[in-house]
Amino acid sequence: MLALPLAWSALKTRPARTFFSIFGIALGVATAIAILTLDDSTVANKVERKTETFAKVDLEVRPADPAMPAPEAFSKIKNTPGVENVGTFLFTSVQMRTAAGERGFPGLVALDVVARTSPAFDAYRIAKGEDLPDVENPTAPACLLGAELAEQMKLVENDKIMLTAPRVAVGNEKMCVDGEWVEASKAAPRREQDMPPPLEFKIDGILDRYHLGKQSGGSIIIIPFSTLPQVFGERYGSPMFWISKSPKVTSEELKTALTPTFAYNVDRTALIGESADERAFRNGVRVSGVLALLLGLFVIFHTLSMSLIERVREIAILNSIGATRGQIGMAFFVEAIMIATVGAGLGIGLGLGLARVFLLAGFTTLGRVGSVQAFSVHWPPIIAIASTGLAIAMAGSIFPLWKARSIFPARVLAQRDLGRPADLFRGMNFFIFTILAVVLPILYFFTVPILGEQSRETARVMVLGGMLFLFFLAFLLLAPKALAWVCSKISKPFERLMPLEGFLSARAMVEGIPRVATSAAVLALVGAALITIKGITATLRADVASLGETITTKVFVGTEDPIPRSRVEEISKIPGVVGFEQLGAEINSPFLIYGLNSHDAGQIGLFKDPARLKKFEEAESLILSTPLARSLKIEIGQVVPVAVPSGPPARMRVMGISDDFGFFPPRREYAIVSSRWMKQFYCFSQDQTTKLAVRVADGVDPIAVATQIQASLADFPKLTLKTGISYRDYELEDIDRDFRLFDLILLLVATLAGVGVLNALLLAAYERRKEIGVMKAIGMTRRQLAGTVLVEAATTGLVGGAFGLLLGLAFLFLVTDALSRLTGLPLRTIIEPLWLGTAFAGAVALAVVAAGFPILRANRFNAAEAVRYE
């Protein structure tokens, strides 16, 4: 076995090259894996919290019109595009009696067969006994019991219990009808004789303490939905529907398709991280993952190919003493496998470690939070990423070998100059381009798919971004003449300043243009990533800042107890106060709606116009906030049904879209109606308001007013006061905090790029070892040698920086445009010269710093050795 010792000695005799290659691939694989694991853990953590005492429900909806019959509602949902599974669900309480005569009042969950059995909902698990039969209409009534209830009542599977509807005192139930509370019995009389007699249920199984099994503290009974009428009669109330979303649609598209016929429960959704802004953020993280992997693999790919060229002579010698091409190829292949396996292995470990540290430090793919303990590791994609790394490493060693098949040992050995077969390079960049820019991203996004990939916006941005990326890389990697021309133009000034260094590095760059191209491409990508990410941050900040304009004159007051009207009027008399908004909320109808007394709010915006003001008060009309209007795709003049508890939905006409009124942090998707309709539909009086937004006159200090409000409401427990300015500042900080994850990723990516450039320069130095020795022998000083390498690095940095600027700006416009379409925020791209400068200077600085180690190495080359032998 010739291959192993040869490979081993090659690795051992070039420790720096070995180290940096392993480091490169390890860091690239690690970053990609860290990002993946971070995202998995983030989502798992949140879903687990949300579904702790519930099922994993993507969306829970009910008809906006309570009169809609359940079967009709069911089939409407079923036929909505993007709905994969629908389950019927009702949660109530029931009266139970055991055979021993013991009575209880546990929670009751009725589930149809889909809700019970679909793994998408993962509603419960059985601890003992059996599950309910998988049929819609079981022959005999059967049920499942929560563990706590079973213990408490000393029940086991196959025991029998009696269930009956709770005989509540009917007169206690009240209902809102036209703004008045009326006794439910009067609204809809319910007679004792409507109630069916108690029904006997057999206990099929006991629930595990998991999801629904934890509901009501485990004091819970699950029955098939079809037995509900036998217990409660026909008037058991309107069911809810569980929906599991098809991956083909985004959660926004699904919500939009269901609204306004259905209202969804915002608190019951396992669609964590799937709203547009969350998705955009997570996709951003994923795209940076491919960038890191790309750079990491570039390092090893480049190293392996270059080292082969550097060792052409070695191959020739081996060949001349009888080693077959197969044997030589094997040696290089084994070497590549050794580097790549160690690198990928370390990468997995490092990646998981990084993810863990990030999570513990509170960096998640849904923004910065407190420390996250959850750690969810999905091995298949991790293995896939590591294997991609391995495969590309193999390709990196095979390609040059294939190229080298045409080398004749005699030619190499007989060469009397310091010749090196530069034509080996030909075609290599095309290969690198194909592998890294086309094959790798495809493999990566196959493993780590972009979220909501079916949405047009995401697809558009990916396609356009991908095209930009390809075009740019193609120019750098596939047009050596053009790039050489650019480099020679850039190095001209250097040549004037330092004639020798400029001259030599210009020659070296023309000779090694593929090396310069790849290094510049790497630097450009990092610069572009920096510009894009900082640009997005600035753009989002600008959006918050623009929101700030409408709220900087406001003070937001929150209390636990309602603030009576008389106290609100006291506040309105504080000097500087020009208006106030008492906000009452009804969340589920089907979106957040506040009631507003328009006369209190001050003559601002839409209310400057008396006709509009009149319309708002007298017609059944709504004002939507801009983000709500955008996300529901509702326009002015459209009629929106709003669920009303006592009867058919109210038909409200959208009279305006504005953020001037009704905003109360942090929710930006809301609608406002006149307080009159709040009273009429929900019997909601403004006196019950716990949210108050106070507007102060321009030029009045909101903090001073806030202080006076605080004094005035001193007797309210849990009083919170927040000025619009402080809210805006908090939001701005929040954006910065969330985007710190990107700073970390950028740091990793920049390190990788640095290693890439370092490796390229180092290999180039090794390759020119002999020339460097000769030049030392004829009088070149260390400083001149250092200068030569530095000029090349700086030129590479300048080219990379310039391309980074162009690419970064293009990406930025593309991404912010897509973001504004996705999130419904009217984003305007902000370009901060500071970051453009940083990206450019950073690329140059990175290249120059990366030159440090190769310079040290080259200066240690032994000139006496170099000139001695051929």
Binding site: D417, M775, A863, Y869
Partner: protein, 208 residues
């Protein structure tokens, strides 16, 4: 002269400051090299010594003319001022129509003549030549030796030549023998006008 491995190349490298002796002193042009720092040695080499290698050691990416100019660039001298000297040398060594060729396009003799021009361009008084004809055909070797003689006679340079070729050695004013890293005592031949036969006889006598 001396057998392979006797220390000829090592001696040249010590003299040029590329290598440092573990014992003893090296003096070149009245300066003790051993006491100089790396930078000073480099400068000394640049100014006082021209090197001609057995394997030419031309830079493959530079043309003949650029290879010849390289020491001027390294010394930070203006190429304009050195222009006439470059032209003169290219003429002298019959390389004018080869000036734009890359080393890989040259014959061995041409490469070594280019290498000689490179050694001469800085005006260094001392030329160290390590088997300059060792890798050349007889004819090409003769061309190079003619060039070297010209350097000695017309340019008044001191040449220290390592060679295996008795005919080459007969041009010398002094012939010294090296064996196992030591000068062979009593083997020094003083010219001018040494005959190849007498050199040959001396080598035989000392078992070389």
């Amino acid at each position: 002269m001396g057998p392979s491995g006797s220390g000829k190349t090592t001696l040249l490298q010590l003299l040029s400051g590329l290598d440092t002796p573990s014992a003893g002193r090296v003096e070149v042009a009245g300066q003790s090299i051993s006491e100089l720092g790396e930078r000073e040695r480099t400068i000394l080499r640049r100014e006082k010594i021209g090197f001609v290698f057995q394997f030419f050691n031309l830079l493959p990416t530079l043309s003949v003319e650029e290879n010849v100019e390289l020491p001027l660039r390294i010394a930070g001298r203006s190429l304009k001022d050195g222009r006439t000297e470059v032209e003169r040398l290219l003429h002298q060594f019959n390389l004018v129509d080869r000036r734009d060729h890359l080393p890989s396009q040259l014959s061995g003799g041409e490469m070594q003549r280019t290498s000689l021009c490179r050694a001469l361009i800085s005006g260094a008084p001392l030329l160290l030549c390590d088997e300059p004809t060792g890798n050349l055909s007889t004819k090409a070797g003769e061309e190079v030796m003619r060039a070297l003689r010209h350097c000695r006679e017309k340019e008044k340079r001191t040449i220290l030549l390592v060679t295996h070729n008795v005919r080459d050695a007969s041009f010398a004013d002094r012939v010294l023998l090296l064996k196992d890293g030591q000068l062979v005592p009593d083997a020094e031949l003083i010219g001018p006008g040494l005959s190849a036969a007498s050199i040959h006889e001396t080598l035989e006598r000392h078992g070389i």
